[in-house]
Symmetry: C2
Subunit: 492 residues, 2 copies
């Protein structure tokens, strides 16, 4: 049975051929949006538009029904009115199609009549051995297959983060973030009403796939808590799973009930279940993105003890405050490191953790300090505040100089200043990547100026760059919780 | 005495002529950075570089000393080694200069010797009736005067937000945000060591200025709590003051002590003092920016009761959860509004607050719902989730269509789709601005795709657009706290 599931899930996420039922040329219709997303990327398989009223759609031959397609079809994507789905699934059966994504809404979420129709499509699917995602989902993305059946194209870089979302809008927002930040996606699954395919079954599938390095979940409600926690406990021993359970408040819980119709259940029960099964729990979709992206790219620290380097006192204080809230601890600097840094920092340096390098701007100095902190056995992660992002300041500085009457600086001099700054930052970032690789400890940079998260590519690997101390601290707080969970429960 | 202060502060923030002591042509030297910022904007006054080794600096005649300047000077900005400051202040006295900004560091923050020098400069200044900001400050900005003496040019749009910061790095970061987001600045004051001029004296000055609509403060430590709270209680009755007190944790408090050398004191004491004097308290610099920018542009709601409209169920749930954390309440929809919305929403709409408009994409529908919610007497603010930001999705959609072999859509059709979307969003935003103006209640929009805060300009005024529900909720939570404070304590 498990094998059976996996074969059909492979057909869903790695199809060689796809039929879009309800394909359309009319802009903004779902059948147009979905087909455009599929065709607009680099999907190497065959695409069959299905529409009884057209011969050609977006340049492809169209077929009146799934039964008329003159080739094998791995996956059917439905974007037709709800009442046409039972017939569509019977067409799948006749055609030998075993996997479907039902985008269409108009089921349980609209009331009793829709619920009856939803039972009917489940019965038809079960009768014929068809596995479907949805209904009432905004679709799926499989980046390594260059396949996305969603209403807005995202075309993310293929990578290691997988996403399971019980909300279409939040899922799409997360997908756009992943795509625009180059975090790298493996699979996105919008589960919709979860009539057949439940979140935990997709979690299990993703847990077994090697290219999936971390999994993010947006959860509104889970019907079978026991099945979910059993799967989760298995998966989290192999890779990090980050989840938000929405509806934790009274008002939110009521809204969740009326949204997907699922019983939201007590938040405390979910929270305890998440903790016990090793799921990293976050409280907002923004944190879900940041922490799961970090879990994809950074090693989990083995403890909650952190060292901080800052180029400005204020940031160090703010970061230290956040650490306490996040359950992170800042051990005092040992004499050995104080002596080591005495040799390179101004006489009046603060001799504390956070280490304030007092505005010095030399990347080699930064790296010497970061390396000393990463070598320190009492800490398992390092935050470097303000060491990158100055090039934006330099750009503003050069723009201001352009306005000077004297035009004292030649274009060459100005460009050389900017180039020197950019080179200094590249040196810093690649040094951080190297130290991270050598120490096995996550080293997170906070830029002066970035907007949100960016992943810097260097010759030694990627560096995680955030725009605020609180984001860096939150990430390390959550990852170190997971690191300690693994230590107690042992990796698989 | 108060009068005296104000005259010298006017000279500091609205100088007709400025001398830069330590002006330099060497890139990256402080005297070069500061002079570049001043000259790179649109300062209408006269600028005098002071440097004994040069005749001309950045195209301007340079003078060996302040005493040699052949015209009246309102303000001296010092970017020379600390030990030259006493002499520089005596030169100010000889020249009749009553206001100075001392960028130079090397005082109390480097130890006993620096502290002695700091006492000396304070004595010299007092003897000669000179008022100075700093030392150890990254400078000041006065946007309505188009004047900035800081190491990186920001050139913010003149506006209503004023900032007082006890950290240079955090202050500059906030300034860059204000500038890049077009929030509008009046005055920025980096107070440095506060040897003479204290945060509360600047707060008082800003409180009395009509163009200042809200004040943001980054605080590490306050020496005279009584004076501060007296001024704060006066100012907050006229305009909102938002503050972060850093060093609230043990680790952070220790770091703060070694940073500016000020006694951080108990966080609980600060927190109580802020509450009692009507200061809106936030816990991170990011929130400081968001909430103070909101306080500049939005009316304070008269209560903590909020209505939410969402175009996706998930966002509604997440926002409702955050509301509970922020002390905001979501009253149930009254029958009157349910009946009103029954007429325009699908039969299965959720009939709850948050109102889920179930994916409908019509701006007139959005505005009808928002208007009904804004008219509702039981709530004093409205959050509109997902109503703007889709044009980014449409851009991605059009980009995907460009890749289609069939090239079915003409360029004209594609542009018309994008144009229609942009027009729909403009209609939505200007409708929100109109409803906000008519109702007197803040209406905050959350976009699908924006990165952080943006201020949308419409024919009816500006609309506050955020990228996450939690930011919108946090803003309204803080502003409604202030609204209730004003109701209890009465505006001035």
């Amino acid at each position: 049975m498990k094998q059976h599931y996996d074969v059909r899930l492979d057909k869903m996420f790695f199809p060689r051929s796809v039929a879009v039922v309800g394909a359309s040329e009319v802009p903004a219709k779902w059948g147009n949006l979905i087909l455009t997303s599929i065709l607009g990327w680099s999907f190497p398989g065959t695409v069959f538009p299905v529409n009884p009223k057209k011969d050609m759609i977006l340049g492809l031959p169209a077929y009146p029904s799934l039964r008329d397609i003159p080739a094998e079809v791995d996956l059917a994507v439905f974007a037709v009115p709800a009442q046409l789905i039972p017939e569509g699934l019977r067409d799948c059966a006749a055609k030998g199609i075993k996997a479907a994504v039902i985008i269409s809404s108009g089921f349980r979420e609209i009331g009793a009549e829709g619920a009856k129709l939803e039972e009917e499509i489940a019965a038809v699917a079960r009768e014929h051995g068809i596995l479907f995602m949805g209904p009432n989902t905004m679709g799926i993305v499989s980046a390594h297959a260059f396949f996305e059946a969603i209403p807005t194209p995202t075309g993310p870089e293929p990578g290691g983060l997988a996403v399971i979302s019980q909300s279409g809008n939040i899922g799409l927002q997360i997908l756009k973030w992943i795509s625009h930040r180059n975090i790298g996606l493996s699979i996105y699954a919008g589960t919709g009403n979860e009539t057949m395919l439940k979140a935990h079954e997709i979690l299990k599938y993703l847990g077994a796939r090697d290219e999936v390095k971390a999994i993010a979940m947006y959860i509104e409600g889970i019907d079978d808590g026991r099945a979910f926690s059993t799967v989760a406990a298995e998966v989290t021993r192999k890779k990090p799973v980050v989840a938000i359970k929405s509806g934790r408040s009274q008002a939110g819980s009521k809204a969740a009930q009326s949204h997907t119709g699922s019983m939201a259940g007590s938040f405390a029960v979910y929270s305890a279940m998440f903790s016990q099964s090793g799921i990293i729990q976050v409280s907002t979709p923004t944190r879900l993105l940041l922490v799961s992206a970090a879990a994809t790219h950074l090693p989990a620290p083995r403890s909650n003890r952190v060292a901080i380097m800052t180029i400005g006192g204020g940031w160090g204080i703010v970061a230290a405050d956040e650490c306490e809230d996040a359950g992170l601890v800042l051990p005092p600097l040992p004499d050995g490191i104080v002596e080591e840094l005495d040799a390179i920092l101004p006489a009046y340096w603060n001799r504390r953790n956070p280490v304030d390098v007092v505005g010095e701007g030399d990347p080699n100095l930064y790296l010497t300090v970061i390396e000393a902190l990463a070598r320190w056995e009492e800490v398992d992660s390092v935050i470097a505040l303000g060491v990158v992002g100055r090039s934006r300041y330099v750009e503003d500085f050069i723009a201001a100089q352009e306005k000077l009457d004297g035009k004292l600086y030649t274009r060459e001099l100005k460009l050389s200043i900017l180039k020197a700054q950019i080179q200094a930052e590249e040196l810093t970032l690649s040094g951080i990547a190297r130290i991270q690789k050598e120490s096995g400890k996550p080293i997170v940079a906070v830029a002066l100026t970035a907007g949100g998260l960016s992943l810097a590519d260097t010759s030694h690997g990627k560096v995680f760059v955030l725009s605020t101390p609180e984001d860096a601290v939150s990430i390390l707080g959550h990852l170190s919780w997971y690191g300690r969970y693994l230590k107690e429960n042992g990796p698989a």
